[in-house]
């Protein structure tokens, strides 16, 4: 345990000390003895962000439901706290028992986005764990990682002892059981055995051979390690573990509410969307179970909002009943219902009105592209008419604020597609003013947010090049100018430099580890936070490591090129992804697979019925 007196002397001098105290309602407390397996979940971002992460919450309570296991939490210290820790010569510690990270048996890191990688290194370093896997001896914790970014684990391959690929509900208990059994035999023996658990990838057991042009020649798995690590899914999502007494933070988390997971996966098949491919198949949770979970969670936490989360909640087959029952049940209790990630074509008047009864929220839609042509390319099966009908409906019922999300830099995109975004904005404004004044909400507000397309592994666009920073900025400036003509529109755009680094690390290989260490040493932290992102430092890190971002971001990969993540299997075949890519170039759409199997490979892999 760290020196609590010393901690108490530094906390008054940092911002939001409640980030580091633990002790919240719902925190798990356990007695520790020499047989307790000690696990710490590390979330490489600040407390308020990490405490909003549903996956971490599920696994924290799941691990703590196991006998002889105590799982704790740790979040990235904000830069002021990092300085304070260093100044006081204190290691980074867990919230529950204030134990330094180096004092745990297993350190589990969540990887939700690429721009958290320097924070991962900072946590290990501050927790006094050797950065490189190869430098850890039997006294150091086993460092494991999972989450969305683990589908291309390679940029972190040198730092992480093992990755969990896919859903952790069953792998985690299996790993913990194996650790308890084989702890005495030492780290190497454990890792070799762990490689035999389906869904576990031990990077040190894979040798990457490169060609002279820098591309990968082959990936050689050591004996006993699977050639392809197939992702795991929870055997029965409907009945799988879900915590109804989650921790209630003392300070406001980003998502400060009860979040229910109504569904996993999405069948729409948008070609840019990694989540849409890697989280297949679609599985729903029973409405009765969700209603019980909602009531129980509100009773236990006292939150004032319930959010129905999934990749596409509007596609949930029992959505109308779920929304109506919950809004009836919570009537008069001050509890409101939020349904994020509604797709426009699944947004129906029937329950839209019911949502409004509880709390008037603006409408948020993601057309992703400004023209039908480009929406066909990316397989966003959504027509202009769908969009305009839904917006009209919303204005008619008194909504005045609409948010639209787009991407730029998509494959096959031209300036006409960018202009299409402004045309859509102008059209939505016209629709607003066509609604009689008495019925529409006062003051037209339209937010247009445009992110930069990042080609992601395991998608049909995994072979694509990313637009250069100059091209993306040219498109942003063009759109800014044309949108100026449409009154009442707020335009947000993403920093193209951040997106470029995302593209590098999303599809990077393990040679990038030296760039990450260099960036970390140069002081890069919280790279997804505008106030801390420093592109110049990153360029310095690449130059210092003698690596080129362009090799990863700007290059179109060949059909037969070995990709860094080829040892990771999602169940969707590479052939299927290539077929989808070809269809994109032919502007052919692929229907939602619930209307008929599209043979993505999941069935053959035994993952889909």
């Amino acid at each position: 345990m760290i020196d609590i007196k010393k901690l108490d002397s530094i906390l008054p001098n940092v911002q939001k000390p409640a980030r580091y105290t633990g002790g919240e309602l719902g925190e798990i407390k356990k007695d520790i003895d020499e047989n307790t397996l000690r696990f710490v979940f590390c979330f490489p971002d600040v407390y308020e962000v990490g405490m909003s992460h549903m996956g971490t919450s599920i696994l924290y309570h799941l691990a703590n439901s196991l006998d002889g296991v105590y799982a704790e939490r740790c979040f990235s210290p904000w830069p002021d706290m990092e300085s304070a820790l260093k100044e006081a010569d204190m290691p980074l510690f867990s919230l529950e028992t204030k134990t330094p990270l180096s004092g745990f048996h297993i350190v589990g890191i969540n990887l939700s986005y690429e721009m958290c990688y320097t924070n991962v290194l900072a946590m290990l370093d501050l927790g006094r764990i050797p950065l490189y896997s190869k430098d850890r001896d039997d006294t150091a914790p086993v460092v494991i990682a999972g989450g969305g970014c683990a589908y291309n684990p390679e940029p972190l391959a040198d730092f992480i002892d093992l990755f969990v690929i896919g859903e952790g509900e069953e792998v985690l208990p299996e790993l913990i059981a194996l650790y308890k059994k084989s702890k005495a035999a030492g780290r190497q023996a454990f890792l070799r055995k762990a490689a035999g658990i389906p869904g576990v990838y031990v990077p040190a057991l894979y040798d990457i051979v490169y060609k002279s042009d820098g591309a990968i020649k082959e990936i050689v798995a050591a004996e006993g390690a699977p050639k392809t690590v197939q992702k795991r899914i929870a055997a029965d999502f409907d009945k799988s573990f879900f915590p109804v007494s989650p921790i209630v933070p003392y300070l406001a988390a980003v998502h400060d509410r009860v979040t229910l997971e109504v569904m996993r996966g999405c069948t729409r098949g948008c070609r840019f969307c990694q989540a849409g491919f890697v989280y297949r198949p679609v599985r729903e949770r029973d409405a009765e179970r969700l209603i019980w979970q909602a009531k129980e969670s509100i009773k236990n936490t006292g939150h004032e909002e319930v959010s129905l989360a999934s990749l596409s909640t509007g596609d949930y087959s029992d959505i109308a009943r779920l929304v109506c029952t919950l809004s009836d049940d919570f009537k008069g209790s001050g509890v409101s219902l939020a349904v994020p990630s509604l797709r426009i074509d699944s947004y129906e008047g029937e329950y839209a009105g019911r949502l409004k009864q509880v709390r008037n929220t603006g409408l948020t839609f993601a057309p992703e592209a400004g023209t039908q042509r480009l929406r066909d390319i990316i397989n966003k099966n959504l027509s202009d008419d769908d969009i305009y009908a839904a917006v009209k409906d919303a204005f008619e019922s008194g909504t005045n604020g609409v948010k639209l999300y787009f991407m730029m830099g998509l494959p096959g995109e031209t300036m006409d597609d960018i202009a299409g975004i402004a045309e859509m904005a102008a059209c939505i404004r016209r629709i607003y003013y066509e609604v009689p004044k008495v019925r529409r909400g006062g003051g037209f507000r339209l937010t247009v947010s445009v992110s930069c397309f990042v080609p992601k592994p395991h998608t049909p666009f995994q072979w694509e090049a990313q637009d250069s920073i100059a091209t993306l900025m040219e498109k942003q400036n063009f759109l800014k100018n044309v949108l100026r003509a449409v009154k009442g529109v707020k335009f947000n755009w993403h920093d193209a430099k951040v997106s470029r680094l995302e593209a590098v690390f999303a599809r990077g290989d393990r040679r990038l580890s030296c760039v990450l260490v260099a960036a970390y040493r140069l002081g890069c932290r919280f790279d997804s936070w505008k106030e801390y992102f420093d592109y110049e430092k990153w360029l310095g890190a690449f130059a210092g490591a003698d690596m080129l971002p362009a090799f990863y971001a700007d290059r179109v990969r060949g059909k037969n090129e070995a990709l860094p993540w080829d040892m990771i299997g999602t169940g969707v075949t590479k052939d299927y992804l290539w077929k989808e890519r070809t269809a994109a170039y032919e502007k052919k759409t692929t229907p939602d697979c619930r209307q008929g199997c599209t043979n993505c490979g999941l069935k053959k892999a035994g993952l889909c019925q």
């Binding site: 409640a18 003392y250 406001a252 001050g334």
Partner: protein, 223 residues
């Protein structure tokens, strides 16, 4: 009907900011199932209002909050239900029914008492400094507000300053809506004259005025 509640704020909960404390109470009320009234308006909230904001990081044995309740609830039942629902670090101590004609707690509060625990080695010097302070007609300190440094005389806002059992400093300071004194300003002034020592401040009392006397806040507003 209004219920006034006195509670302690300790341990990790001392780092709950004033804004977050309001949210913590809203959640505790919902968990407790108590019939606290909602505000009118678009986003209804529980009608909860605190007597006096406490500095972040300071513990207290005497925070006061009032809540409007819709049905008749006995103070004892209220105390028991809210006590079970509050998160670790917030401990309910006492609940009273507030008089209908009593002002809001935040309007009634006039004085606050603090206990400052310090390093023993400084006892002698601290004693002599507080004697000086009490004997002075004015005590001018520098106060930073909104980036400006102002010199203000805090003497009139010091109601009482003494040392109990040679162990800790006790101070009674003005804490009215019209003007209140932060305990840190005085401690910093003492430190300026004695040299740096470590200390910890705890709020131990909130008082209203009645008939020229200071009376415990909840007692003063009690039905």
């Amino acid at each position: 009907m209004r219920i006034g509640l006195e509670f302690e704020k300790k341990d990790a909960a001392k780092y709950i900011s004033h804004l977050d404390l309001q949210r913590a109470f809203s959640r505790a009320i919902r968990r407790s199932g108590l019939p606290v009234a909602f505000s009118a308006g678009f986003n209804p909230h529980y009608r909860v209002s605190f007597a006096s904001a406490l500095a972040l990081g300071m513990e207290s044995t005497c925070e006061c909050v009032e809540m409007a309740v819709e049905n008749d609830v006995s103070p004892d039942a209220f105390l028991s239900a809210i006590g079970k629902a509050l998160p670790p670090g917030l401990y309910a101590k006492r609940a009273v029914r507030l008089a209908d004609n009593a002002p809001k707690l935040m309007a009634a509060v006039r004085e606050a008492e603090y206990k400052v625990i310090f390093e023993k080695a400084y006892l002698h010097e601290i004693k002599s400094v507080i004697c000086d302070i009490i004997a002075s007609r004015e005590v001018v300190v520098k106060k930073t507000s909104k980036g400006d440094v102002k010199e203000i005389d805090i003497r009139s806002m010091i109601i009482m300053l003494d040392i109990i059992n040679d162990e800790c400093l006790r101070m009674r300071l003005a804490a009215a809506p019209s003007g209140s004194l932060k305990p840190g300003l005085i401690v910093e002034e003492i430190i300026k004259r004695t040299g740096n020592f470590a200390y910890q401040t705890i709020r131990t009392g909130l008082y209203a005025h009645a008939g020229g006397n200071a009376i415990d806040l909840l007692t003063a507003c009690h039905e």
